[in-house]
Amino acid sequence: MFTRLLITLLIAASLGSASIAFCATEAELKERFKARYQQLQTLKQQGKVGETASGYVEAVKPEHAGEAGGVTGPENSDRRELYDLLAKQTGATPDAVAARNAARNFSKARPGEWLKHADGQWRKK
């Protein structure tokens, strides 16, 4: 009986730690987005970075790629991770989540910010 109780406790502890790890990952992801938010918005307002229809950010012109790469690289990497996470939570595909986030960012974009549409063309909002 003691062995059964011990096994039950061990299983409960492992499940608990797994759930905590999952929450910590999402919280860490959110912190990374928050840390980059101001810098990303500044680059958008300067016209160096824009949102794309695929749900990621890109440098508007090749000459801005070097300066913007320090932000767009980690941002896109974290977005990919977020889309995978939300896809599992909602039962959708990561591409579907990315498309919805793209639509969301397009609607939230401020006038003057560059947006790369599905046809590959950059247009100012």
Partner: protein
């Protein structure tokens, strides 16, 4: 003649028959998933409301600069005595 009447009656009766077809249910699965995704995204990015919009920078911008017209200098005429 009898067979003709029976045939006409049969055809007329067939016209009164109604086929019952179960309505096709189109479940709004895509719509529900999109709403769920939108809600999850809004919850995740709630910090954007907390941080607020970033103030426009005075750094180099690709937007064309607009010249502000100078206000005309208005002078008053001295009173004629």
């Amino acid at each position: 003649m009898r067979y003709l009447i029976i045939m006409i009656a049969g055809i007329s009766a067939a016209g009164c028959l109604r086929m019952k077809v179960d309505p096709i249910e189109v479940k709004p699965i895509t719509l529900n998933v999109n709403l769920k995704i939108d809600r999850e995204l809004d919850d995740f990015f709630d910090f954007e409301h907390e941080l607020g919009p970033v103030a426009p920078t005075t750094g180099p911008s690709t937007a064309p600069s607009v010249a502000v017209p100078q206000q005309p200098i208005i002078t008053t005429r001295p009173a004629i005595q």
